[in-house]
């Protein structure tokens, strides 16, 4: 069933056509984090108030290192998608909007690389 007015098609107005992918990515990353939430609770209980040796020992275990990387990467991705929508909805200056959107993407990427390198560093004892 088509909901689009034929005139809208003729004028080529209406939805930009890129929303569905974003919508699914937001939901899928939410579901991934929902599954990982069990481990996150375990991780928080383990590292809150921990000494440096205890925290490093926790992250050094392969299972914890892998899930920490998975969780931080998924959270950064989910966060990037969410912040993107917030900026698109509330920033009405096109130039500022674009700058913020790029900054959000770059920040998520940089944060992800920093976190992954740090965790691998701990895990491989470098």
């Amino acid at each position: 069933m088509r909901f689009r007015n034929p005139l809208a098609n003729a004028r080529n107005h209406g939805a930009a056509g890129g929303g569905v992918e974003h919508w699914w990515a937001q939901r899928f990353s939410a579901l991934v984090m929902l599954v990982l939430a069990v481990w996150v609770v375990y991780a928080l209980v383990s590292v809150v108030g921990a000494s440096h040796a205890e925290a490093a020992g926790f992250l050094a275990q392969p299972f914890n290192a892998a899930l920490a990387i998975l969780f931080i990467a998924t959270a950064l991705y989910h966060s990037r998608l969410g912040l993107q929508v917030v900026v698109e909805d509330y920033i009405h200056h096109r130039g500022l909007e674009l700058v913020l959107l790029i900054m959000i993407k770059v920040a998520a990427l940089v944060g992800g690389v920093l976190a992954v390198v740090a965790i691998l560093n701990i895990a491989f004892g470098a």
């Binding site: 939901r27 929902l34 440096h52 920490a68 931080i72 959270a75 966060s79 912040l83 944060g111």
Partner: protein, 126 residues
Amino acid sequence: MATENRPLSPHLQIYRPQLTSTLSISHRISGVILSVGLIAVVFWVLAVASGPDYYALFTGVVGHPAGLLGMAVWSFALFYHLLNGIRHLLWDAGWLLDLKGAYASGYAVVIGAVVLTLVSWWEVLV
């Protein structure tokens, strides 16, 4: 195409605040808070990887009253966003979309978030 003089729908402050609209915007606000918190998570991983001195610096900042307040806000935002996110996923699946379901799940999310926050801070509070 002229867009300046189009009629606008009544602005936000015209409407009486309702539980549903308040929780809706709270989901976005908590998402933004969690995004800021993610920066702290990345710094935590970096601090663990960088050695005891940097780790002590990090725990010092987090252990400061202002840091603890930030952690408290962050944890409430986390539990709220987690529970309300599940509510959103249920809506996406087509459940709880009637007025009664939206309100009942809304109250459940608020109560659940408060309870989970209190439980996780119990040792500090008592």
